[in-house]
Symmetry: C2
């Protein structure tokens, strides 16, 4: 099955190009989600709210290009390489090979590009530098529920030169707590750990392969405590070491009691002390400024190999199986040019996953599929100009509206509005005195109105987000 599509790209702003081409049936591409307009309003509400909170906290807006040299994206082995999308001109590959152009790939997160941006523009930035960045990223992973190949991340990071003040490690999750608190995500928990805690603890009980131990303990949710213990023993731990490592992973609290719980395990090590102190400082600030939201959770191991201090994960209460919808942590060396080291801390909202899951699993939607709050009816073709003038007057006062596409019967024009969820239909000249009238098509109420003074109810001005 195929169809003819007018590939009528006008080259708006560029060279014209177009051909009639026969193409295969139009099908979605797995992992590249698209939304209908009402769903896009939900996403925009999230984007706008997150941006507003980020800006209230003084994070500067930034965007980086979508591509980086693949040499900058590629890790050494591991799964990452397979996940990178390479980019090259279809017809210019041979021509550009051997040229000065580096091989390019689409960025798979916003941290690698940000680190590069900091190095490239260090002389023009004021440190500590606080930035937010909300952009698409691409990963060639196998698509699954809530996991996409193209998705939007919303990141904040603070980066400094040489040293980074520890209080920003408490600040990051509080910014997220404020954003989530304004969004229809329900209850949520931000789990916090500090990599020095397991590191110091493992060293304190004589497990020197910290990374290896972490990798095994990280499987706790998947394979359960018995298998984790068995794998730890298989890797050389004693039964007692395995028991203690598991006991540490089970410690969690929304207050500072986690410190005593760890102490009760009887392990001491200077790195453990540092970690407990740092985590207690973060939780203490959280208790004061966002009670109940931050949880010290010594099980979370996200990227503990890579982060060097505090780490964060975020779960929506009742939807823990969705995994973390917002994660991050601290690096002692976000970037370095060999002379200067830039420590940083950041956190990233997995926006596409979050919105997709809320829309598909919790039925979040918008009250209408258009921004228009008013449809201005057209009485007859000669009356279009009067309807246009009404629309201009409404827009000048901030009321989104559109003019009916045809001078159809009013019943049809009302159905046009109804189908899109537009709450009001405006009838020019419908009043007894020749003035206008406006009808709330939900209630059927119709009343005299003047476009220069009519107040659109605030709740109807923008599409609202509906939570069933």
């Amino acid at each position: 099955m195929s169809e003819t599509v007018e590939n009528a790209a006008p080259g708006r702003g560029g060279a014209p190009r177009a051909e009639k081409v026969r193409v295969e049936k139009v099908l979605p591409i797995s992992g590249f989600p698209e939304l209908l307009p009402a769903e896009r309003f939900v996403e925009l509400h999230f984007l706008d709210t997150i941006r507003e909170v980020f800006e209230l906290h003084g994070f500067a807006p930034l965007e980086t290009r979508a591509v980086e040299p693949t040499s900058r994206l590629l890790g050494k082995g591991g799964d990452a390489d397979k996940e990178i999308y390479g980019v090259s001109r279809l017809a210019g590959r041979s021509e550009e090979r051997g040229g000065s152009d580096a091989e390019l790939g689409l960025h798979f997160d916003l941290t690698v590009p940000f680190a590069r941006y900091v190095l490239e523009n260090a002389g023009k930035l004021a440190f500590p530098f606080r930035r937010y960045q909300i952009q698409k990223v691409w990963r060639g992973e196998r698509p699954q529920e809530g996991r996409f190949r193209e998705f939007t991340q919303a990141d904040i990071d603070v980066v400094d030169v040489g040293e980074l003040a520890p209080h920003v490690e408490a600040e990051m999750p509080l910014v997220i707590a404020e954003a989530f608190g304004r969004l229809p995500v329900g209850e949520f928990r931000i789990q916090v750990n500090n990599r020095r805690i397991p590191e110091g603890f493992y060293l304190g009980i004589g497990l020197t392969d910290v990374a290896g131990t972490l990798r095994i303990v990280d499987k706790l949710d998947k394979i359960g405590p018995e298998k984790v213990a068995a794998q730890l023993v298989a890797a050389g731990a004693t039964d007692e070491q395995a028991r203690l490592a598991l006991a540490l992973a089970e410690v969690r609290s929304t207050d500072l009691s986690f410190v005593d719980a760890v102490r009760a395990l009887g392990v001491t090590h200077p790195t453990l002390d540092q970690g407990l102190e740092a985590l207690a400082a973060v939780i203490a600030v959280g208790m004061e400024r966002a009670p109940g939201v931050l949880v010290a959770d010594l099980r979370i191991a996200r990227g503990l190999d890579y982060y060097t201090g505090t780490v964060y994960e975020t779960q929506l209460v009742g939807s823990e199986e969705w995994g973390s919808v917002c994660s991050g942590g601290r690096y002692d060396s976000l970037a370095s040019d060999g002379r200067t080291t830039y420590p940083g801390v950041g956190i990233s909202i997995g926006l596409t996953r979050l919105v997709h899951l809320l829309v598909s699993k919790r039925g979040l939607t918008a009250s209408r599929s258009t921004p228009a709050a008013v449809l201005v009816a057209v009485v007859d073709d000669e009356g279009r100009s009067r309807s246009d003038a009404v629309a201009s007057a409404l827009r000048a006062r901030g009321v989104p509206c559109e003019v009916a596409p045809t001078a159809a019967k009013f019943g049809k024009q009302i159905r046009y509005a109804d189908r899109r969820g537009i709450p009001f239909v405006w009838f020019p000249g419908a009043g007894d005195d020749g003035g206008d009238q406006v009808k709330d098509i939900r209630s059927g109420d119709q009343a005299d109105a003047d476009a220069a003074t009519w107040e659109c109810p605030a709740a109807d001005l923008r599409p609202s987000i509906l939570t069933p």
Copy 2:
């Protein structure tokens, strides 16, 4: 020269990945522009204003994925193919070949993806469908001043089933006129033509190769009238035909006088009549709703091969050499599935080019490099919590602020604000009664203030756009 960069991608929200890699010196990639924060504020101001105007006019928000099957992007020959960036997984190429995945490329405009989206979702959309779409696009063209390989377009389109009402052809440029009227772009002209005018005119004087004639006349600005005439004659036109074709191209007016000017050339053809009538209708609406902005300009030939009715180009007065910053037109068949045809009309702002040129050529910038209107000073380390409370109170009332990173001397904290353009510094406990004070660091004025009631001057709440 090389440096060590911590490619510390945490796989926030995904698999962790990171390696220390040695990479080449950090360099910009030609054609992939990036902005500093103050410049990004300029771009955001444009993006927000354009989106607001699009929504006021009832265009629904839409985004499409960045990739399309290359079969959908590729024209038949021509330059377009060379400009497409192909996308494929670096390490998964062999594995995916022969699989069900189509070859993918980055979209080079927003019209081709929109046409595909309409076909894919026709059953879920209400027609006529009005949408706006603001996204990055990619073209592998040779980068030059104001021409990029990655750039943002801001499009509106109206698409209908079977037939599209002609009045939307007048509506498109008026929406743009309203957006540009709110932006610091200075004076601008939207040039409008209708492809039926040259088509009917050429046929009326016996030039049957309409497309070939258009292509030659389109070079008028570059090579001048004599060479155009010579090329027309070389292509088979008589001297008189060449003279008339050039005379048509010279007609322009901001009122309806272009109709008489064309009539005075003594050419008649039914298609010419249709074109003149359609263009007169657009210009007449423009004269009423945006006097002086729309210009009937019978020279513009943009995509006349591809558009089937009205076409638009936009120039900034005094910067005509920048070329068109906003273009579009009407297609009788934006998309078709073989049974149903979807005519459409649209227009596209070349946002990256526009902002880049305004920033680099006209010196547009923002008043500061951070959203923060206030820096809350920190008196000493014990006082951070009080400063945090002030910041929370300010943010709750919509005032963007940040807390000083360290309890440095006040002079240093003031310099921190000054360097970023933050206008106010807040001093907790600086008042005689132990209350707070706020200093306008531009004037030096310092006064008692209470975070629960202080009014940030409206002009300072957001960074403002400065036009030198």
